[in-house]
Symmetry: C2
Subunit: 192 residues, 2 copies
Amino acid sequence: MADSNRKKQILNGAARLFRKRGFTATSMRDIASELQIEAPSLYNHIKGKQEILQILLLELARSFTSGMEVIRNSTLTYEEQLEKLIRLHVDLTIKHPNGMALLTSDWVHLEEPAFSQYVSMRDEYELAFRNILIGAFKNDGKESVNVDLALFSILSTLRWLYTWVLKNPEINPVELEKEMIENLLSGIFNRS
Amino acid sequence: MADSNRKKQILNGAARLFRKRGFTATSMRDIASELQIEAPSLYNHIKGKQEILQILLLELARSFTSGMEVIRNSTLTYEEQLEKLIRLHVDLTIKHPNGMALLTSDWVHLEEPAFSQYVSMRDEYELAFRNILIGAFKNDGKESVNVDLALFSILSTLRWLYTWVLKNPEINPVELEKEMIENLLSGIFNRS
DNA sequence: GTCTATAAGAGGATAGAC
DNA sequence: GTCTATCCTCTTATAGAC
């Protein structure tokens, strides 16, 4: 339907502006101006600015959560699960580079109950990531490593990946997956 | 003097609030409330909200620039220079964790000419970092590596380090330096 | 579904008393 | 150096015409 299409335009435009200037510094007029309409027209498609943020953030967070579910329920080795996780991040980042920016900063502006929903999804995700990393370290005979610092380092790079993707729009997803896996895991594990 | 002291309190309080909620979402009333005074009183010590942002950001950026100058003018090997750079980041992050948060997000709200000053300082810094990394790779016989992706990965971790420091306030600087150097460089170079 | 007009409030900043 | 009072602008959101 036309409405659903318009809604997508609003969400995409808002995501781009939120990424560039932040949620608070972006006005409804700014968003409307992207679609060359007036601000009040937006309210025929969405309840308000907060709803835009919630849809963008929670839908993307759910993609990560469900991707994690598939991986942790698989029969892959821990190290293979790590590779799959990196692929998940690369793919979602290429699909939603603007949304990824919100995930790292504008989530603080979520109102309840969306805020608590987001934080608990994020915490559960990072805990599951941590468990897989611990498993991989054990299988590799590296129990002395500072797991949390390694996790922190990997997640930091994955969080910033959207800036890389935005700077290199012609990027090949498969190539980027390969390079990221090499970059993030080859220093940690003894790989072929 | 009392004034200079008050000014420092304002800058520290503002940095903390900017880090937590962002520059735009923090009001002058919020900052004043931290010091238990009223908003107009702030203007006896600073010109306005924008000046606070500029002082916080440009002073920290200058610390990085001058730290880089010392390192690149040294007679250390490239790999030793890399170690020194990581120490520089760790030390400045422990000293100014709130300021580091602004460096990664709120710089977009700088007005001219501060904006251009900041961007060119940042670009020159990253270029110098890149040159040192290239030199280290060459000395290590690794010319096939994707330098820019390695640089991106290292800088991403260093940028997020302030969250680690804020979560671990009792942290030992020397220990953290050691772990960060190991974490960031041992995967890339053949180290003892 | 988009518009104009407007309500209701928050924000940065200044004037002037003390 | 801090206060109260206030100005002016911007912001989110609604009402109601077309």
